[in-house]
Amino acid sequence: MILRYMKTRLCFFLLLGWWVAGSGALRAETKTVGPVEVAFIAEVEQVVPGQTFYVGLDFKLEPHWHLYWKNPGASGLPVEIEWQLPEGFSAGEIQWPAPERIELAELMNYGYEDTVTLMVPIQAPETLQTEEPVALQAEVFWLVCEEMCLPGDANLSLELPVELPVALESSRSAQAAVFDAARARLPQSELPWGLAASVEGQQLVLTFEQGAGDPIPSDLYVYASAAGIIDPSAAQTLTVIRDGVARLQAPLDVAQIDQPVESLAGVLQSASGSWAFEVGIGEAEVIPEAAPINGSIPTAAGFEGFLLNFGLPGWLLLAFLGGFILNVMPCVLPVLSLKVFSLLKHSGQTRGQALLHGAAYTAGVVVSFLVLAAFLFALRAVGERIGWGFQLQSPNFVVALTVVFFLFALNLMGVFEIGTSLVGADTKVSQRNDVLGSFGMGVLAAVVGAPCMGPLVASVSGIAVQANAATGLLIFGVMGLGLASPFLFLSVFPKLVAYLPKPGVWMESIKQFMGFLLMAAVVFLALVVGRLGGVDAVIGLLIALLLCGLAAWIYGRWSVPVKPKPTRRIAQIVSLILLVAATWYAINQTTAAYQAYEIGASASEDGQWSAWSAERVEAELAAGNPVFIDFTASWCLICQANKKLALKTDRTTALFEQHGVVALQADWTRYDAAITTELERFGRSGVPLYVLYAPDGEVTVLPQSLTNGIVREMVEKALK
């Protein structure tokens, strides 16, 4: 700090010496007021009559202090200059460099830290005859803040000699470099994209079209030139509508709500640059979704299509049936086997108890579906392009889920028991725990099962996501009810359980075996983590699982009723700490890995399969090639099954080769707005989705479950 201060001082004196030695006539002034040092400088050595030249206020601030831009943001005041100029001179507007965002206590301010040069053009009169030097005077007012704010002002003057126009240009002064640097900080005047603006509700929406220009940066931020138009402290969201088109949503300031905004001037900024813009504000413009490439999108046919036509009752029936069928989908199976097991354990229970468990399980499923759906709608409301199954696109969520499954597996294998109390101890508590367990089982089934797009649910979940939130919640709630229904049914008629085998010692073996099923689920989730974050993420996860295993072992070995109470307490605390630390570690590791990890070519280029993009489809169709698209995600087990059984088989490979089909894969494992948008174009909100484009524009959507036969039949029919 002191060093810096000395450096600037030193520079200043060196410069001062240079001026004095150089022109002799030039006198600039520097003043220090609190944390602000301001110098009044000119770009030219002398004033030429009739010419416009630049002067500048060169500010240097102590660290952490900031001055304000012309729109100061949530608080603050812009720098102001009052000019006292000789007869005939006039000063132009301050040339504001692009601002920085400075956040203080949740409030966003727009301004400058460290250094800033505010340039002002000065027009000299033609009639300037005198050989006397001209004196320019500026009274500068500012507010400078770090956590506290200090208003300041300085009266600065500058004397410049006058030179009659012998040369066309007056020579540049020693400070000209400062002006060059200041110009480099000005926003560029040419916006490299097409821009349209509208107001939608309480949001200002800027729509960018890339056209032939540079790609639209994902970190664009809009500053309004005037205060009170855009809420400076509110988050702005940039959404890619489709390739080359993006929307930036900025909440309006409270002063602007209900008032018409006719035009907006401001600055757009990203890490790669800043651009000034001015745009008229039109009516809310509906951006056409990506124009259908060719032909129309077929609607669902058969039974599904039949029900879809009935409106809401049909949708609800479809949702219920779809939820019911989810029970036999591979993703839900491991959880369900557990549920069957718990049914057996309770086979001797009364009707009331059975009903209680059934209701708890159902509640767990339905509540989870509703919570997931609510999050989905909330996120979509703020502009995220996400679909059903979004939770598995988040590495943190997958890590947490893996830890839960792993502990569950260890529990089944007998490494530790929860809630085992001394014989004859409070049975009420253990019953309550059981009911809680049923609820938890429902949550697990829903969280794992929800992203599965089984038969029948594909279209209706597409409708749900695009409908209003109430309808959407209703549809997803009913889907959860469908998923829970078999067990609810069994609990209403507990006698049916009697047809299942009688409980006995064999159950202990089955229980332990179930642990391995769950371990298989852990392996699957590790694969998902790997696809999200690469080897680093998987190793992070495995280390965390190791620690969790240790925690479980300590708990199971020392926190048992036969041990003295202090031993139990210590064991519980140690295992809890281990568990939390392990989960925390894994989440951090995978998050870092997720951010650093780029899906390599290996993931998208796979034999005859290459990565999907809308342009690629367009290009291939233009070239007369049929295109097959596999919308998939590695956490989608149906997708994996289809891949194994029908897509990456010798027969299908040969079939595609024979018909010249270009096979593209759209991998939705990670968050991908373009793929979400494309899925929605087909009325879907999740994967799998299989689409076949014929060169003549015919579009065929294949069923959710594929076989070699189905693929052959569809391809041959479409390309006959």
Partner: protein, 199 residues
């Protein structure tokens, strides 16, 4: 990851500061907070009266601008004498600039000679966030029916110079006068200026 951040953001927004701002013409958010004397003050206590909320921080130059020559005190006196309630709100968090204990605020009240009815202690920032208060000063006027009828700046000249007060239009006073006279309020929402509230 971005999605997760948004998720966090949304849940935080839902939990803490969803009503980030209040629309003029809507019901003013209810509050119950302690004042510097330890008494509990609720908006509902003042039903039937005009209520002024003034976010303040003693060491902010924009607040000092209005207090050093008694301008704010005079306005407080005028309005409270006419039956309005004037509540100062201090939202600085403990450890942040301008945070004062109840005793220090009491001392400040007597040294500035404020005519405000009470000074509310909002060091957890709940009330400030509910109203979307962002600067000191930031003023809100609530009518006897509990509807927010003015929010924004104290006046029309954004500066920290006391000498500008005479030339400026005092938006709060203008809003109050219009409301009393039954006339529409010309500037019912303005952009506040001043120091940031130190949540």
């Amino acid at each position: 990851m971005k999605m997760l951040k948004t998720l966090l953001f949304v849940s935080l927004a839902l939990l803490t500061s969803l009503p980030a701002a209040v629309t003029t013409g809507a019901s003013a958010p209810a509050f119950t907070v302690l004042d510097s004397t330890g008494a509990e003050r609720a908006l509902s206590d003042f039903a039937g009266q005009y209520v002024v909320l003034e976010w303040t921080r003693h060491n902010c130059p924009f607040v000092v601008k209005y207090y050093q020559q008694g301008d704010m005190q005079a306005l407080q006196k005028k309005l409270t004498a006419a039956g309005a309630v004037w509540l100062q709100v201090a939202s600085s968090a403990p450890g942040k600039t301008g945070y004062l204990s109840a005793e220090a605020i009491e001392a400040l009240r007597s040294s500035t000679g404020t005519q405000a009815t009470a000074t509310l202690l909002d060091s957890d920032g709940k009330m400030g966030r509910a109203y979307g208060a962002r600067t000191t000063p930031h003023l809100f006027l609530i009518n006897p029916e509990g509807v927010l009828i003015y929010q924004g700046a104290i006046d029309s000249i954004q500066s920290a110079r006391s000498s500008d007060i005479a030339q400026a239009t005092n938006y709060l006073k203008a809003a109050y006068d219009s409301a009393i006279a039954g006339e529409p309020i010309e500037h019912s929402t303005t952009t506040p200026y001043g120091c940031g509230v130190k949540y």
